[in-house]
Symmetry: D2
Subunit: 255 residues, 4 copies
Amino acid sequence: MKTIVHNDFILIVYKDKRYLKRVDTDRAFHGKGGILTFNELIGKSYGIRVGQYEVYEPTLEDLIMYGVRRETQIVYPKDGAYICCKLNAKNGSRIMEIGAGSGAMTLLFSRATGPQGFVISFEKEERHFANAKRNIERFLEWNNVHLFHGDGTEYNGGEVDAAFIDVREPWLSVDTVRRHLKKSGMLGMIVPTTNQITECLKSLDGFGDIEVLEILLRKYKTIAERVRPEDRMVAHTGYLIFGRKLDGYSTPVTK
Amino acid sequence: MKTIVHNDFILIVYKDKRYLKRVDTDRAFHGKGGILTFNELIGKSYGIRVGQYEVYEPTLEDLIMYGVRRETQIVYPKDGAYICCKLNAKNGSRIMEIGAGSGAMTLLFSRATGPQGFVISFEKEERHFANAKRNIERFLEWNNVHLFHGDGTEYNGGEVDAAFIDVREPWLSVDTVRRHLKKSGMLGMIVPTTNQITECLKSLDGFGDIEVLEILLRKYKTIAERVRPEDRMVAHTGYLIFGRKLDGYSTPVTK
Amino acid sequence: MKTIVHNDFILIVYKDKRYLKRVDTDRAFHGKGGILTFNELIGKSYGIRVGQYEVYEPTLEDLIMYGVRRETQIVYPKDGAYICCKLNAKNGSRIMEIGAGSGAMTLLFSRATGPQGFVISFEKEERHFANAKRNIERFLEWNNVHLFHGDGTEYNGGEVDAAFIDVREPWLSVDTVRRHLKKSGMLGMIVPTTNQITECLKSLDGFGDIEVLEILLRKYKTIAERVRPEDRMVAHTGYLIFGRKLDGYSTPVTK
Amino acid sequence: MKTIVHNDFILIVYKDKRYLKRVDTDRAFHGKGGILTFNELIGKSYGIRVGQYEVYEPTLEDLIMYGVRRETQIVYPKDGAYICCKLNAKNGSRIMEIGAGSGAMTLLFSRATGPQGFVISFEKEERHFANAKRNIERFLEWNNVHLFHGDGTEYNGGEVDAAFIDVREPWLSVDTVRRHLKKSGMLGMIVPTTNQITECLKSLDGFGDIEVLEILLRKYKTIAERVRPEDRMVAHTGYLIFGRKLDGYSTPVTK
């Protein structure tokens, strides 16, 4: 049985609030449910009630939602999980990511590609690069992420199985991706606006089976006698765009 | 470069239709885009245009959506991907599944738990068990699935990291799962009706941080100048219910 | 051209905020866009910019959303407009409402039934009755609402064309409504929970063509170059249930 | 009690199917529930069971959904009801409509504006004009619709309280509408694509409090013990755009 030790990440749940904390034996968590001194957790198992709090071992979703420091809009797990699925990411997959942002999607790709795969990720904004680096180092499960400060054009490594672009103008990175993506490999993109969907669609020469979609997650209240949706929900995170690389595309000269 | 060989699964795309086929050099695909003789694909790469068709290497989502033989309602990849995420499934995870159904979710768990993890899956309907077995053998990536003909009550193996229940009356399997699930481990359930949500919620003694939600996938048309949602969509697959196992639960005697 | 006079209701818009106010020549509106002295509005037309504010003549939706004093959850105009449509409410219609609540739906029915129709509305909670009365008197367009303090069982007037029930246990009012509703007349109900849907459906003996539905309103940002949904939305107001009265129903004795 | 006579419209319901028919004493309805001879309905009330069918008096929604002959995409009642609400349409309102299409929205406006209001509607496509005319004559409740063959630019009548544009390029009609719309009056538009939203938003000089939204209607199955959404739904009809006319707008010369 896994027990809590110093420096562990823990998820503290109080009513409908969740807090991700790192156990520091000298400190305590001060919340609406009172004070939780970390020292009293040491050696205990996860999945326990302490006072008014519940303490769990965080999942990767918890780490991303409550632990990752956000300097950009992150890819939400509801989107990220499906992106991994569409990109066919599995243990052994080689994935290229243009636009690490805060590193949330990078962490999801890292998990999906496992110990035998890898993620090559690029972030050109220096500030975001530093933040992504910090987040990835903090929460990484497998040592399979290669984070670069750049936009991917400098990449001269081998072929990748799938690629994902999450930058303001994804269409500017399509050529880069196309050079490295294996035939039949999936390309994914995420954009917040419909205007960007239009631009992305125009840039997808050489890709087939194009899809555009969005994922909505609707939460419900959990009282058995009063089942009903929450009053409010996250109504938009981003539009997802996917395509599969087709053979026989030759880069246009004047484009 | 991977090339197409006899017996490979291929995804054939024609306009907005997708077909999953197995290459048989003696046969051909007859569709609205004409005849595609499999023989001419041999030795070619994936990601090609052949006549009016595009031919791709199928992703696991393709295999599930277009290849799995359905004798039950399957868990859709949009739900299954998020279920894997919530259950924190990763290479090395041990997952228990009550109700394999047609095996679609089993395949997703198999992928997520990778070569170092495993899935112990139960299906009590003999007919569904046989079908799930067939589908899993057909599409399995890692040899990490243990499929049993039963309801899980007979299981006397070790602790699991997460559990998933997909049967008509999930509340009847909660006790079974609770016995084997590690503390803090995630339990997931999927049900089609709101009445079942109510019953499930009543059965979750010993679990905390309960969540009920649904995932909606809305597709868009892919013409750059006319971006708009599809006219119709899948409006419902199932409600997802999650909880985390709490310590200190003692099975009620008279319940 | 209609000009603003003392005591008029006005809608003040500042950025994405809306305020419903009554013009009082001695007073002013103090908002984030500065002070708007009502006196300077007198004699001006609606649809004007005054400093950083825009001033409009409120629609009934504005009056309901920003003017009606809410002591209960109100029926939102997105639901109320469709309810009027389903109930076939038009100038001349006679509508019975059980559960006036705060009077928002009553105002919508009043508008729909016009000068030649009427609404008979019941509210049994004394406090809500007083509030509904105040709201209706304040915002009524036609003198066609008869508001009673009761639950409708005391009604012995004539037949109505349609009926609407908005109380905690609508199924307890179905018999009352059935007695007064004309054959083929529409019955509508609104409930927040799925458990209530179940109870309502069980109570609809003598009604045919039953429908259950919900209306979702998703707002978008209004910048031409960055069209996208709002980040958050109202995810749930209520489930709507409709049925049409069938002939030949005889009230069960022991039910 | 209203009874069925020759030439009446009736709504026939069989299971989840609805048919709008006109009673012709010499004819019969042949459906999956058998033959329904219209002659046997004469003199009976609405709201009756005849064999396996239910027969109701149609609402305006029924007439629009099942009776209006569609040569264009119609405005659905779920959208139309809310459009009437946003446009503050009530008995006495004067509404201008550019693009009658098949006349569905015209019928909703006609109902909303009642015996004391009116609708001035324009349709420039000759074929659609003829169809709209036929539909409106067939289903009109009040004699308050003025349908013209044109695009509205020829209109030289009085001021209107609200306006609605439903044509392929609504932005080309904004100037026309602005000339006739009273100050503070609401303008509504409906477009199917996001690209059109962008163009519409660019054209709304002189309008304030702009809103863009969509209305989704999700239907549920009606079995009390198995409450759940329908498997599939209409996922998109159109985006609605609204604005309120602001004073002080002078038509730009070079625009």
